[in-house]
């Protein structure tokens, strides 16, 4: 067993435990913190797969966003810092059953997929080229320029929507009230 495998196993275990704690933890803020650990674990997995770019983007996008999530949690919910209510309700058994069935189905499908038994060969291309390919693919007319632009427009719409929601209504402004 190489050091790389040891690191992988440790990371995977930490990620899974953290993911479990996200849903089990009674305090909302703690759940958000466990979520950070789970996402960081995924970032480490990306790095182990030699996809450093994805790992770093994972940290930049998700972990940064969680700081905001925590603020919103604290500001918008009552007793966010304290214990919440009970962690399970009456249908927890059915939910667990559905989750197990889904997991088993996915496992079955993946194990029957071609090439699942063989060990994947490492990619020969160096990482620099991968990032460059990604950049070119996003602006290539034949490849992903349309989804990329549509996603940008969606984000722009969300941005404008946030401003529209946050602006005071026209009556309020006519009366000279400040937001």
């Amino acid at each position: 067993m190489t050091i790389l495998q040891l690191v992988f196993l440790a990371t995977a275990a930490v990620t899974l435990v953290a993911a479990l704690m996200v849903v089990v933890s009674p305090r909302m803020v703690h759940a958000a913190l466990w979520l950070i650990l789970a996402l960081a674990g995924v970032a480490v997995l990306f790095v182990l797969l030699e996809a450093g770019f994805l790992g770093i983007v994972q940290v930049a996008v998700y972990i940064d966003a969680i700081a905001i999530l925590i603020i919103v949690t604290v500001m918008l919910t009552q007793r966010a810092m304290g214990e919440g209510g009970r962690q399970v309700n009456r249908s927890w058994l059915w939910a667990a059953l559905a989750a197990i069935v889904l997991f088993g189905g996915l496992l079955l499908m993946l194990s029957q997929a071609p090439g699942s038994a063989t060990v994947a060969t490492p990619l020969a291309a160096d990482a620099e080229a991968t990032v460059e390919d990604l950049g070119r693919a996003l602006v290539d007319v034949d490849r992903y320029v349309l989804p990329f632009e549509v996603a940008s427009v969606l984000l722009l719409a969300a941005l404008i929507g946030a401003i529209v929601v946050a602006r005071p209504s026209t009556e309020a402004r006519r009366e000279g009230r400040q937001p």
């Binding site: 770019f53 770093i56 940290v59 972990i63 905001i68 925590i70 604290v74 620099e128």
Partner: protein, 398 residues
Amino acid sequence: MSDPFGAIGGWLMGLLQSLGLEAGPARFILQFAAAGFLATILLLSTLFTIWAERKIIARMQDRLGPNRVGPFGMLQSVADLVKLVTKEVIIPAGADKLVYMIAPLLVVTSVVAIWAVVPLAPKLIGSDVNVSVLYIISVGSIGTLGIMLAGMSSNNKYALLGAFRTVAQMLSYAVPMILSLLVPTLLAGSMGTVAIVEQQRAVPFFLLAPLAAVIFFISSLTEVGRAPFDLAEAESELVAGFHIEYSGLSFGMFFVAEFLHAFTIGALTATLFLGGWQGPGVEQFPLLGLPYFLLKTLAVYFLLIWARATFPRVRIDQLNSLNWKFLTPLALAVLVVSAVTDKLASELGWNRILANLAGEGVIVVGALMGLWAYARSLRRRQESLRAQVTPSRATGAS
């Protein structure tokens, strides 16, 4: 000697292997030790930078500064360190214990981790990641998280307010910072710091994009949270902000992280805009790169101290309007203009420096005119308001 640091690494590797280790674990231990060495040196260097900063600020404010312990008071920070270490770490009642203890560690880690991608000299770098610029941004965001956790877990209203301010401030200033970081990226054609430094052999990017350098400098001042942007710990409003409840070594970690972060900003500016270790004679003697890099870093660090010593703290509304109404549009304009002029210059064979400087000049003139128009409209509005409030005096005066 073309590669002295590689030679040292090779010698240590040989030493470990002669002790009976295989190549894989030996490399692992070596990398671990090198990282630990760099981090220790960095953390210890704050002993010097804290002393230097206190001394410089004292001189600027016509004081003497530390002058009792050791020659020129140089050992003052050592005495402070001993005091901090021996003090009790107090955990306030109702605090979230584990989170409370982890927060300062996160903040220190995020600052030290940035140094993994800073090239100190030719071939002397922690890890030549090809997306270093992104790495710097994402690691910096972990520090924000640490401050947020510190404020939240302290069970103190002032700490929470300080943390909220920090997050608002850091997130909004991340926009112009990332935009200004894109300029050296596109000038060098790579996101790796090593490639960025290599590309500055002929001309440092500061001469090609001075505006981007200034925007990066200002927005990183905010990221460190130092005066004039130290709203997160504004003493007169929040007592001490997010670290109000911390004592002993856990406060010392925030303290060290802040000073080291300021030094790191110097190093990043030197790497991205001033050419890093580039300098005369580096080709023959790679060891010269280290002093060059340190000199540039310290020069930027001095600017940082200067700003801290001379500017009053901004208000939160001034902070936000400076960012959203001025720096962000400016950074967008710089990015677009740099992209176009640099491409045109290389396609049409213009002088690269002149073309880029001309582009920046156009932006500066535009920004100044915009500011002038804005100030005039502000003055007009104020005059009309004054006329409404006291109509008799306003008419009398005119």
